[in-house]
Each structure stands twice: as C-alpha cells, then as structure tokens.
C-alpha cells in the first residue's frame, strides 16, 4: 500500500510501514542520533522514514508503551529524558537480568556461539588498545547481542533490550570517561571467561559485578553535563 505525497514521493503505510518507522526510530534513539528531550513530529518522521504520518504515529505509540518516548500534553511527543537516578534504577534491573542471561548462556550456548563471544572480546581488546571508544561501543553492543542469543531466553532478552535502550545514552557517555573502557573490558573478560568455560554460577556473579561497576561509575557522575 502506498500513498503519493505532494512532491510525488511514495509513502508506505500499513503494518510494515509502522514496523519500519518503529525500528528505525528505536535504532536512532539507541545510537544517540536523536537525543533525550528532542521533539518527535509525526509528519517529519514520516518523511524521514518514507512512511505515512499515520504509520509514524502508530510507531510512536509503540515506543511510548516501551518507555522510550513520552507524550507532551498538546505538543506531540519527545524522546524520554532519563535522569541519573532513573538510570541507576534501570541498571539495577539490568544487573539481575544480565546475571540470568550470563547463567543461561553458560548453560545453553553452542560451541560456535562461544567462539564468536571470544572473537568479539578480542576485537574489544583491540579497540581499547587503539583508544577507540566508538568502536568499543559498537563491539559492546555486539557482545550483549551474542550473550542474549547464546542464552536462548527470549523473555529475559526482550526485557534487557527495553531497559538497555532507555539508558544507552548514559552508557555511551560513560565510555568516554578516562579509564572506563579498560574497567569495562576487564569486567566483560571475566564474564566471557566464565561463560565459555560453562561455569553458570560464576558467569552470573561476573555479569552482576560488571554491571555494579557501571552503576558505581554512574553514581560518581558529576552533576550537570
């Protein structure tokens, strides 16, 4: 189904269009392309993603339900602003669920998945050595994606993904703090070591300890930006 706009561009509509807009906007929020507090205007979003205004609105409804976007009375919607205190609470939830995922990964991962986890960790080591926090950030997301895939636990995975997208902006900034990527790498090495040697208890404990490091770092964050 397509609609033709004034300048002749064809806009997608229907369920597929809503999904496209939803996925693209979610990705842009995660990557910080659109920032907390930024206004989201339906016709603009529609144009950017090549979907109808109505599909853009339906996509916003989904992201509002997920807590990524919030409505402003009579003024449309904006990317939700997450305070440091809220980020800590989100991280505390993430901490226990990451523990569960690491445990399940140690139990359920295939040998191929373990190889990919190890290989990705090596690339992370390279990014730290090369002082490339942007590359590290990309690999960090890949690490978590691999762990979720290895865990074979779709419910925990989707909860973590939703929590993650709300705090990614905070985490992204943390990685640029001196010494932070080194600490992060050390924590994740312990997780990968425990998972790849299939020690479930240790994997859970290591994952929780790693997130505790992130929480501690968030808490010493200087007020204001």
């Amino acid at each position: 189904v397509a609609q033709v706009t004034g300048d002749g561009a064809r806009l997608l509509s229907g369920v597929r269009a809503r999904r496209i807009a939803e996925q693209r906007l979610r990705e842009e929020i995660t990557r910080g392309v659109v920032v907390p507090g930024q206004r989201l205007v339906e016709p603009e979003l529609g144009e950017r993603y090549g979907v109808t205004r109505n599909s853009a609105r339906l996509a916003l409804d989904v992201l509002i339900a997920e807590g990524l976007v919030e409505r402003i009375p009579n003024r449309g919607a904006r990317v939700r602003i997450v305070s440091t205190a809220q980020a800590v609470d989100l991280m505390e939830c993430r901490q226990v669920l990451d523990g569960l995922l690491a445990r399940k990964a140690a139990q359920n991962a295939t040998d191929g998945q373990l190889d990919r986890l190890r290989a990705n960790l090596e690339r992370m080591r390279g990014a730290v050595a090369g002082q490339d926090p942007l590359e590290y950030f990309t690999l960090l997301r890949e690490h978590h994606r691999l762990l979720r895939e290895s865990a074979c636990h779709p419910i925990a995975s989707s909860l973590v993904e939703r929590l993650q997208s709300q705090i990614v902006h905070h985490q992204f900034r943390l990685l640029f703090r001196p010494g932070r990527v080194q600490k992060s790498l050390a924590g994740l090495s312990r997780v990968v070591d425990a998972v790849t040697t299939r020690r479930a208890d240790r994997a859970e404990a290591a994952a929780r300890a790693h997130v505790q490091g992130v929480i501690d770092a968030l808490l010493v964050e200087p007020a204001g930006e």
């Binding site: 369920v15 339906l58 409804d61 989904v62 509002i64 339900a65 997920e66 919030e70 409505r71 809220q86 609470d89 989100l90 505390e92 939830c93 901490q95 226990v96 669920l97 523990g99 569960l100 636990h153 779709p154 419910i155 925990a156 909860l159």
Partner: protein
C-alpha cells in the same frame, strides 16, 4: 504519559483478563472495547499497544489482537525473570522499609496464614499478589516494581492453578513468611535469598507435570 482515557481502557482490559472474563485467545475487537469502556477508539488502540508491549495481548496479522496464551514453558521463563527482580525488590525493601510498613507486612502475613488455615485459596491467591505489591512499595524502586507487575500479570492464571495443588499453599506460605521476616528485620541479603528461594520453588512446581485441577483457571 498515557491519557486518562487510555488508562481507563487499559485498566478495564487488565481487570477483564485477570478475572478471566477475557480468557486466553479472546479476540479484542476495538468497537466492542469502545462500547465497553466508553472511551475513544484511539484510546482503546493505545491501551492495546501498551498491553501488547508487555505481552498480555498479542497482535494477529490483519486481524487485530487477542489475549495471549501463556504456555507452561513460557510461565517458567517469565518466572525465571521475575525471580532475580523480586530478589532486588526484597533487598531494597529490607533497606528502605519504614516501621509502619513493616507492621503492615507482618499483619498481612497473619491474614495470609488465616486464609490458608481456612482453605480459602482464592483469597490466599489475592493476598499473595497484595504482598508482592507491598514489598514493591516498600522497595521504592518503581522500575523493578513495574517490570515485576508486567511479568506478574501474565502469570496470574498459572499461579492460581498452582495454588489449587494439594500442599502447595503451605509450602508457599512458609517461604513467604521467611521473606516477610527478613524484610521486617531489615536484613537485605537474607531478604533477597528468601525471595529467590520462593520463586525457585514456584519454578520447580510449575515444571512438574500435573493433572489439570479443573476449577476456575
């Protein structure tokens, strides 16, 4: 934030699903929900989106939405997520509970004991939900409480079935007594361990094959 109309529609849907007026598989027809709740079609649609996001209802390709059917396997997976989050809430509750809240928690446990003693399982089931709500409140951790609430909503029917199993209420009452004692004593580690132990036993019980008890599931 959700509009008041959306909240009205959401609440009505939740209650209907919880009580079984809309059983698993029930088709959600927007027009019917508009008539039932008296709010606009767009508010109804937003309410369905919100409940779909938390897995209480599911969309069917080109046919709207229906109340989601939760298999035993899924109920186990949901409880596995709930277990460490309840552990977190128990720990925070033990750190943050006020004296009046601790008193209310102890009093609530006495009511639960009385319900089990008199064999009132429906009431016991409701009191358990309330207990988790009280722990969530004392924890002052709205994000974990909200996640648990969403997971919980998908489990109510399974948990109610579980409570009808012979001997099960006594087992759960013992575990929850330990949880209440640890929180009221302000012992965070013990409270977390008690919550985890309780949900571990729920998972074990859910995983056991059992004849259908019949009754209001």
């Amino acid at each position: 934030m959700a509009s008041p109309a959306q909240e009205t529609a959401e609440r009505a849907l939740r209650v209907a699903i919880w009580r079984g007026d809309m059983p698993p598989g029930y088709r959600l027809v927007e027009a019917e929900l508009v008539a039932r709740t008296g709010v606009s079609r767009s508010a109804v649609r937003q309410a369905i989106d919100a409940l779909a996001a938390e897995g209480l209802v599911e969309r069917i390709q080109n046919k709207g939405a229906r109340v989601r059917v939760v298999s035993t396997e899924e109920a186990v997976a949901i409880t596995e997520c709930r277990m460490p989050l309840e552990g977190l809430l128990a720990r925070k509750a033990a750190e943050r509970i006020t004296d009046p809240e601790a008193d209310r928690l102890r009093a609530h446990l006495r009511t639960m004991t009385a319900a089990v003693d008199s064999g009132d399982l429906l009431k016991y089931s409701e009191l358990i939900q309330q207990l988790h709500g009280m722990v969530g409140g004392a924890a002052r951790h709205p994000i974990a409480a909200d996640l648990v609430g969403r997971l919980q909503a998908q489990l109510v029917r399974h948990q109610f079935r579980l409570s009808l199993r012979p001997g099960r209420p006594r087992v759960s009452l013992r575990a929850l007594s330990e949880l209440v004692a640890a929180i009221a004593d302000r012992d965070p580690s013990r409270a977390e361990a008690a919550a985890v132990a309780h949900f571990r036993s729920v998972i074990a019980a859910l995983s056991e094959p059992t004849p259908d008890p019949g009754g209001p599931v």
